[in-house]
Symmetry: C2
Subunit: 345 residues, 2 copies
């Protein structure tokens, strides 16, 4: 079956390449303005896939830019009319369509209070873009699939470029240049992933675990699986998982572990526990030690730095969702009951 979902996930290397070419100069301008204003903290407002991108941004800015950012709670602003103080903040709204009223409201309130505001969107003519002082566009072209793929990685790329420009790091820009090729290599290395996913099609539940930078990836993969196949998939930080939820592990619950570049003690502990319980184990990594214990090893190219690893690690998960959806007789472009633009307050 020819689907937008598959065509668009294969388009990702080209989208990232284009962003690098046309987006650097404007990203440098935004970074200069941020340095000039030197905000004390950040607020990231987003929903759905964009919220997973926001979570990546939270880790990235915290680790690489020593900048602490909160994920916004939009209902505080919309339903409750709360006006938490953001005058010293950098407020970033992230939305493919730029339409969701709750995200627009957080950015609008930030600007009203005098915060520096930035919209990251695929739609430069959207309400979100109008609400913010600055805009960074995704340059991803139209997305035909309801479940986002290329706009998700484009959002990560914009955040990564912003971090590099803000740091003024030549090495970071060099690493960014290599990324489109690495995403292409990931697609090629995972040619069989969609077919392999068929083997687990009977399962109506899936746990995906990540930590640090790739917590965002775990969340995004579960969202893709939920959207395209209706399976109850849930993502956890392996640390949170140990504080209670691990009680759900058994041999009927497949576990997917996203663990590129770096080993985390708690993630290894959960992986060992899943093995002991006899749970089907899928691993996305570039590390042979953890790939070696998996029932299904989904391989990432070597040499991707950890701060950029979420842009490659999500790709096998997208392919998995594609295969899972088709194997369950569904159409990945048209998830049950979903529409491309969702309006929430």
């Amino acid at each position: 079956m020819s689907t937008f979902f598959e065509a668009e996930l294969r388009e990702q290397p080209a989208v990232l390449q284009r962003l690098l070419e046309v987006g650097r100069e404007r990203t440098e301008s935004v970074a200069a303005r941020i340095r000039e204003r030197s905000p004390r903290f950040g607020v990231l407002a987003a929903r759905g896939s964009s919220d997973n991108a926001a979570r990546y941004g939270q880790y990235l800015l915290g680790i690489e830019n020593a900048f602490l950012a909160a994920l916004a709670t939009p209902s505080v602003f919309t339903y409750y009319g709360g006006r938490p103080s953001m005058a010293d903040a950098l407020v970033i709204g992230i939305s493919q369509s730029g339409q969701s009223p709750d995200i627009v409201e957080v950015v609008r309130e930030g600007r009203r209070q005098g915060a520096l505001t930035l919209a990251i969107t695929n739609e430069p003519a959207s309400p979100l873009a109008s609400a913010a002082e600055m805009i960074l566009t995704l340059e991803a072209g139209t997305e035909g699939s309801v479940a986002a793929t290329k706009t998700y990685t484009a959002q990560l790329m914009v955040l990564a470029m912003l971090s590099a420009a803000w740091r003024g790091s030549g090495q970071a820009w060099a690493e960014l240049q290599a990324l489109p090729g690495q995403v292409q290599a990931t697609l090629e290395a995972n040619r069989e992933t969609a077919a392999i996913a068929e083997s687990l099609r009977e399962h109506s539940r899936l746990v995906v675990l990540g930590r640090g930078y790739n917590l965002s990836t775990a969340f995004e993969i579960t969202l893709k699986v939920k959207e395209t196949s209706g399976v109850m998939a849930h993502g956890y930080s392996s640390a949170d998982f140990l504080h209670g939820p691990k009680a759900i592990l058994d041999r009927t619950l497949p576990v997917m572990v996203v663990s590129p570049v770096r080993a985390f003690g708690d993630l290894d502990a959960v992986t060992a526990l899943a093995r002991e319980q006899g749970a089907p184990l899928v691993v996305i990594s570039d590390r042979e030690d953890i790939l070696g214990v998996a029932d299904v090893a989904l391989r990432l190219p070597l040499g991707v730095p950890e701060w950029l690893s979420p842009l490659v690690a999500v790709v096998p998960g997208q392919l998995w969702a594609l295969g899972f959806s088709l194997a369950r007789g569904l159409h990945p472009d048209a998830p049950r009951g979903l529409t491309k633009v969702t309006h929430t307050l």
Copy 2:
């Protein structure tokens, strides 16, 4: 079966009453110190049930105290050695045991940078209490059950008292005084809840939806159900649920809706959708209109203000977890593979 879990959840009115009696003066001192330092933003660090309390705090401080707080990302500090700037912040660590090294590290780093720091814990002699400048204790006595009940509501109570003291609101204190009796009334009104939960014991999946103040409640109920019964339960903001996850709804997936006091458009929309799909529907509310459409109506007492509603709304969920656990032949005090104190980095 006599269990710590049940005994401790029934002890909640007494614990809250004691906290009100012994905790007010020290809470007023902490609030005075916060007003004096006037931090620009907050950072809340916690795991497990305490993280659900932190989320309540995030909404409460945002709505009632116009104070924006982030939920911390501990791995930024521990694994990555990131040092996000917190000199202007109020950093609050929340942990029943005060032991988890990652939570201690966030507070320690905050204090090192000159942030105002506060520990909320049941253990005044713990590493977390030592790391912070200020302490507010839970006064909950020993908790014998691995799955937290009375320490969870005590954490909410400490945060609610802090908000009241910081606002200097006499009305808020009056509302707090009524709360222990309202929690008692909730226990009495839900005498049959544990028995009713048996009717859904065959289901290995559960979705719990909330919004705003009671997003924390939805998350805490799913954690209790996971811990005590091994069921794959997951909590969502109804707004996030509409942005993708709603594709998983069908008649085999029970949906629990936590919706006291206030109607949310998106939560009503998901409730209607669950009805259409034929999903078993459980509602926790004090509102007759939404209780009326439920298969199982779990009633809350009238007159609890919304900002305190999470302290009553979680109670039927705790009773549900108890009944679910027993009906599935498990022991709620001893979840599979869990220990009371979890050390994560």
